[in-house]
Symmetry: C2
Subunit: 476 residues, 2 copies
């Protein structure tokens, strides 16, 4: 008999029906009740064993994480919180899990410990919930853009160009690592390398996405990006996934509108698709908050916060206005900010948090940053000082989206590249987009793990990606 997924069974299983279920034992208690999970839902199916007619040997093997196949009949459940249970008629152990060796017993393990068991942690409630929410968000992204007629575009991972002009990159090579071929100048001769030149892992697909926008109109990327930064924080990964929409004929306001609409859509979609996972994560979040000192606790619970973000307009103001707001603020006047607040500086996390969490108590979109602290490709405003940039700042996360209108004027772009020492030879094709049929266009980047962090309420980015990559850490 074909197996039925537990999610379907709990939702639609008819009393009296004979079914086959397969999954892993979460717990087995009173020698009778198996809590069975198959990953299709956070909820377990209760399977009731007739222990008098089951061999003791078999009962002993019903340990946490043992894989079993069960045939039985659906009954109305006598227990609380579950509509149905299954009366076991045939029980087969597919794979044992020796309780003396299996590391994830049914007790609370720290997330740090679970990271070391990344091959088993999806069997825990918390991680399986996170992965299902991550899945819903990923699908939500494709659905959102697909419904708007965007073309999903695979930009290259291995590239000779470095979009940001900043950020350390990973070198990709096949030459002899110990005795690299050297040229006449004594430097490594990359002509002998696989691609015939030095290449690295992409930090962004934006520049190539602009190619798409300038032909197909609206495009987006969703792929892995890489930063070789030696930062071991709860917010950074060496390998992470980014979504980068790029739209022809969009100005900065269109760009902000799209970013805000997208985030709200994603939050609503996750709440609609994963109510039980988010309910569980909501409770976990509440418990985590309780362990913090009173004055550091969030005002809103996880689900409240999601609903709040979905229901309210993001605050939009310019960088210049934000500087004024910050300088008028209590913490500034009392000298509580660690970093300076004056026009021209890059805002620090403390400033962004003040704006989002204290001043406006909602997501904030800052625009029109000083050109000195932004990338060469951003559209220069008429004031000669600022660029048409936007950063979307989120409570607890900080920058979740960065974007801009792009400089579509060839002369201005070339001048800015010269000023910022961005090599033009490598980007000849990017410049040609401005030479042939240029048009206003805009785009932004969303760090996928940042939105997963926000929606799941998890505290560490390494817990929202299956196999995190960080300095000195590339296990599995």
């Amino acid at each position: 008999m074909r197996r039925t997924k537990i999610k379907d069974l709990l939702a639609h299983g008819e009393i009296g029906a004979k079914v086959t279920v397969k999954g892993w034992v979460r717990t087995f208690r009173s020698n009778r009740f198996i809590a069975l999970n198959d990953g299709s839902t956070i909820n377990n199916l209760q399977a009731v064993v007739d222990f008098e007619n089951t061999s003791e040997d078999l009962l002993k093997r019903l340990t946490t994480s043992a894989a079993v196949s069960i045939e039985g009949t659906i009954l109305e459940s006598q227990g609380k919180g579950q509509r149905i249970e299954i009366e076991v008629e045939n029980l087969e152990i597919l794979g044992d899990a020796d309780p003396d060796e299996y590391p994830l017993q049914p007790k609370k393990h720290s997330l740090e410990f679970l990271r070391e068991k990344a091959h088993l942690r999806p069997r825990t409630q918390v991680m399986s919930a996170v992965y299902r929410v991550r899945n819903a968000l990923a699908y939500g992204i494709h659905k959102f853009f697909n419904e708007k007629g965007f073309v999903y575009m695979h930009t290259p991972i291995i590239t000779g160009s470095d979009a940001e002009g900043a950020g350390e990159t990973f070198r990709v090579s096949t030459i002899d690592p110990k005795n690299p071929p050297l040229g006449e100048d004594g430097e490594v001769d990359y002509k002998e390398d696989f691609f015939g030149k030095p290449v690295n892992l992409s930090v962004s697909g934006q520049l190539e996405a602009e190619v798409g926008a300038m032909a197909l109109g609206d495009v987006y990327t969703f792929g892995p990006t890489f930063r070789a930064e030696n930062s071991n924080t709860s917010r950074h990964l060496a390998e992470f996934w980014m979504i980068e929409p790029e739209m022809a004929f969009y100005d900065l306001v269109d760009n902000m509108d799209l970013a805000e609409e997208m985030i709200k859509y994603l939050i609503d979609y996750a709440m609609e698709q994963c109510p039980e996972d988010l309910e569980f994560l909501n409770q976990r979040y509440a418990q985590e908050e309780k362990t913090k000192p009173q004055n550091q606790r969030a005002e809103l619970g996880l689900l409240e916060r999601l609903k709040f973000v979905s229901d309210n307009n993001f605050e939009r103001l310019t960088y210049t206005e934000a500087i004024e707001v910050l300088r008028r603020s209590k913490p500034f006047k009392k000298g509580k900010f660690k970093y300076p607040v004056e026009w021209g500086v890059d805002l620090s996390s403390e400033h962004e948090r003040y704006l989002v969490e204290k001043e406006y108590k909602k997501p904030v979109i800052l625009t029109d940053y000083p050109k000195e602290i932004k990338s060469f490709y951003m559209k220069q405003n008429e004031d000669g000082k600022t660029v048409a940039a936007m950063d979307v700042l989120f409570p607890g996360i900080g920058e979740i989206i960065g974007g801009s209108q792009r400089e579509e004027n060839l002369e201005k772009l070339v001048k800015r590249m010269e000023e910022m020492d961005v090599p033009q030879e490598e980007l000849w094709w990017y410049l040609e987009l401005r030479k042939f049929g240029t048009a206003p266009h805009s785009g932004f980047g969303l760090g996928f793990e940042r939105i997963v962090l926000f929606v799941t309420g998890m505290g560490n980015i390494r817990d929202v990606i299956p196999f995190p990559r960080a300095p000195k850490s590339a296990d599995f």
Copy 2:
């Protein structure tokens, strides 16, 4: 006024409505008729200029690939093949395209030439059609698996393990390429590298996807994979995208059923979503075929072939049966095969093509290959000689899917790894999946560009990915 996309306009634009459209000039003829395209569809919108009341200077700038913004009124079209056209009331040039410099004039360019202009080629009819079909196939994949309750899983790109145990890999590193740190043994000291050990770009996410399947039940990956093989063919890329579903409790038959269902779904989905693009590609394919000698032409046109694959069951037979069929075949008896046909050899392209194109005239799934020519992780059959592998072979493409039931028995897996010199230390976590709650499971890999090739009828894999990566080739 907000711009309307040409696709929407052509489908739903109401006669008499005032609209704004933006896009690129495909052609401008008789000083009156602009064929305008904005990438939302392969079809152009005809915009009619009142040339008597338009300055000569402006008319001169209406060159191929110039970006324009047009306000006007929708009229019933007098021309053939189009329902509506637009009477231009306001015309603005957003970006010029000097006809003396713009390389893609409205004539047929070779696909080789277009590859060198990868930043402009999405503006051509053929490439924009390919990219839209590629987009539909990508979304179709997510839709198919999402509707079945699969969890989309991001497996790592940077990895210390090499799933296939074969295939050349790209090294990823941040150590000094010229003077790498050396250990006491005189070898490169990877402890000083970013990840503290040698790592490479993943050739497959399968092993990590198995982690997901053994907890979440049904998962799939869709991400980039890499092969550092020095092969400059029309079928291979150094960087390509793979889809790798992995399912708990699936045997080989379930696996074949899913693969066949998925491919048919994708073909149907593309035909439903991209009828105009595929009609164009169908004509292109027919023209290409005409340039071939009569006896090398395909029997079916592109659309006919897609429909045929969608409508018919794939032929399923074992490797052993296939060897018998081949040895009974005319080309074998006449000594026409270049490579030997005997039990134990890996089938060559000529053999696969014979089976698919001559013997069965439809997709073929071969199963139960000799274990010697397949990977260590495939489930060993009871005969001691074969493994529960499957390859899906397609006309014109060859292998489009490779998969297997996985060996879930720890002892058998360890023994096979020993026999094949696969290091166990690195894969301790993979082995633990068999130690704790193991269960039968299966999966397969679909090379995304292979299915895009098949559906678009293009001849070279470099023309179905925006920025192809191949030996000595990593431009853009």
